[in-house]
């Protein structure tokens, strides 16, 4: 497992060296495009629409589209001038009660592990967050973006949640038919409640599996059948090799 980010968390006068690891495994089954005829990998080439020429990385600038065929161009130099302050350090701005943060703002999760020399401060922060039932909020610079993140004690360690900024989450009332209220009678409501309670039981998330992925996996497994290295035969070969070596030593002694 490789860390995706290395830096520090700081609050007040304390700075804790940390590493971040992805908390989730995504894209388990990923496919590549191959040429049907010869099995060669298909690659994308960056081609300019105007002149038809292939362009290299150095020849590319980024354009912000205002309207069709109308762009504001930003160069690498422009980006370098941008103030991405929180690059190697997450500065915790405040602590708060977890119930104040609505689940809709959560995006990705990362596990935080203490880097060399940070074990003690890490442990202290974790315990203190747990005991005070608090979370911290701050910013982190990752992949050229300034992300909002929250830190929380979780399952023996600390977890970092990437958050959506306040203005990134849509107001649901912009969605058609959101929040409609209609007349219902008491019996109908009672019946619905009864149905829910009848189906209510402790959640076992592990019971819900990605059956499509499992089927795909089986399909792939069937396709490689017969191509496997037969381990029993290999072990036999390795052993007879050793036996032959030993026998040749014995014949020498005899």
């Amino acid at each position: 497992m490789r860390a995706v980010w290395k830096g520090s968390v700081s609050f007040g006068l304390v700075s804790i060296p940390i590493k971040l690891y992805n908390a989730t495994l995504s894209k388990e089954l990923q496919f590549h495009m191959l040429h049907a005829e010869d099995g060669g990998r298909i690659r994308f080439k960056k081609v300019c629409e105007k002149c038809g020429k292939e362009v290299s990385k150095d020849e590319v600038v980024r354009g912000y589209q205002l309207a069709k065929n109308e762009y504001v161009i930003l160069t690498d130099e422009d980006f370098q001038k941008m103030p991405l302050r929180s690059v190697k350090s997450i500065d915790i701005k405040q602590f708060f009660d977890p119930s104040e943060l609505n689940f809709i703002y959560y995006s990705n999760f990362y596990y935080i592990s203490p880097d060399k020399g940070g074990e003690r401060a890490y442990y202290l922060l974790k315990e203190a967050l747990k005991d005070t039932n608090s979370m911290g909020i701050g910013k982190i610079g990752m992949r050229g973006r300034e992300n909002l993140v929250a830190i929380k004690a979780y399952n023996g360690g600390l977890v970092l949640a990437q958050l959506h900024y306040f203005d990134e989450v849509r107001n649901p009332y912009e969605i058609p038919n959101w929040g409609v209220e209609v007349e219902v009678n008491k019996e109908e409501l009672e019946l619905a409640k009864k149905l829910i309670l009848a189906m209510k039981k402790p959640l076992k998330l592990e019971e819900y599996r990605d059956e499509y992925k499992e089927a795909l996996n089986k399909l792939i497994e069937a396709k490689i059948a017969g191509k496997e290295i037969k381990v029993a035969e290999e072990v036999k070969a390795a052993k007879s090799l050793m036996d032959a070596l030993k026998a040749s030593l014995e014949s020498l002694e005899a």
């Binding site: 497992m1 495994l25 388990e28 089954l29 990998r41 992925k213 996996n217 792939i220 497994e221 490689i224 191509k227 496997e228 290295i229 381990v231 029993a232 290999e234 072990v235 036999k236 070969a237 390795a238 052993k239 007879s240 090799l241 050793m242 032959a244 070596l245 030993k246 040749s248 030593l249 020498l252 002694e253």
Partner: protein, 323 residues
């Protein structure tokens, strides 16, 4: 008590040497793969595999069925290899490394199944580190019931030179001589274990790459190699053979991700005939070579494999002084 299960143990390491015969030594085949300490807790049905850097590699080899091989709690020391025609294949073992997806691991464990050759036992309910090797070997053969994936590394007594010749004749790497009465010196490169290899190899850090041409156009032509001398890197040459096209392409993409502008410390004055791309010194590879030239470079280097079980700090110039 489950302390033993999480106890971090650095494996005992061998020094390099020449073939010899001595009745105070036993001789094993040097199975070249990934070193592994296997913690098997039969009571709780759990296994923990750790490489020589103490990094957990349990998830990588689900096919290693230790719970079928032992009936009591043990810590085994051994080498994980993927066999092809009865011999270890670096190329196939490499396919098993750097894989995170569970699905892929499960498929690869069927396509290229790994085996572990156990050559030592460090715990069997009691700590055995201070027991003489020959006693540990006896215990090992008693506690391990071989399966298709967990095997015992056999050994011969006394006849080191003949054994070495025979072993290298059939195309294996070499042998390891171990002193019969030696204790297990965890984390130490000990004179009591002597590896005797046919080929010169060195583990070095990849510090950059030179652009390729012809078939390798648009990829790397060769990898720039360096060793650590205290805090500085020392350049020891380039390796441009030993990898297949598939590896070149996939590894090129990895190298691109870690390109840097700054030259690694100690290499500021190096000049190259082709354009060099420096990379973060994080990848370690094993390279075979004929000899060291007068100016301290590898002659006729051939790439053998990437080694994620070795750290950059371990790739020191000391390795060459022993040759």
């Amino acid at each position: 008590m489950t302390d033993w299960f999480y106890k971090k143990i650095y494996p005992m390491l061998a020094v390099k040497g020449e073939p010899f015969s001595d009745e105070n030594f036993i001789y094993e085949i040097k199975w070249d793969g990934t070193r592994c300490l296997a913690y098997v807790d039969v009571e709780n049905g759990r296994i923990r595999l750790q490489n020589r850097r103490l990094i957990d590699i349990t998830y990588r080899y689900p096919e290693l069925d230790f719970l079928n091989a032992v009936e009591q709690n043990v810590i085994l020391d051994g080498e994980i290899v993927v066999l092809k025609e009865g011999k270890p294949s670096f190329r196939l073992l490499q396919k098993r490394e750097h894989v995170v997806s569970k699905t892929k691991i499960s498929l690869l464990s069927k396509l290229y199944p790994a085996v572990l050759f156990a050559f030592d036992v460090l715990y069997d309910g009691e700590w055995l580190l201070d027991h003489p090797l020959i006693e540990r070997k006896k215990i090992l053969s008693e506690v391990v019931q071989e399966t298709n994936h967990v095997l015992l590394a056999d050994y011969v007594k006394k006849e080191g030179e003949v054994f070495y010749n025979k072993v290298t004749e059939v195309g294996l790497e070499g042998i390891i001589a171990k002193k019969v009465d030696s204790r297990y010196e965890a984390g130490k490169r000990s004179e009591n274990w002597i590896k005797i290899k046919k080929r010169n190899t060195v583990d070095c850090t990849i510090v950059g790459w030179l652009e390729g041409e012809g078939r390798r156009e648009g990829y790397f032509g060769s990898l720039v190699l360096a060793l650590k001398d205290n805090n500085n890197f020392v350049h020891i040459g380039q390796v441009g053979t030993g990898f297949d096209d598939e590896f070149v392409k996939s590894f090129y993409n990895e190298l691109r991700k870690v390109e840097i502008d700054k030259k690694p410390k100690g290499l500021e004055k190096e000049e190259f005939k082709r354009k060099i791309h420096w990379v973060k010194p994080i990848y370690v590879c094993e390279v075979e070579f004929l000899e060291i030239t007068k100016d301290g470079k590898l002659r006729a280097p051939v790439f053998l494999r990437l080694r994620d079980d070795k750290s950059v700090e371990e790739c020191t110039v000391e390795q060459l002084r022993l040759i």
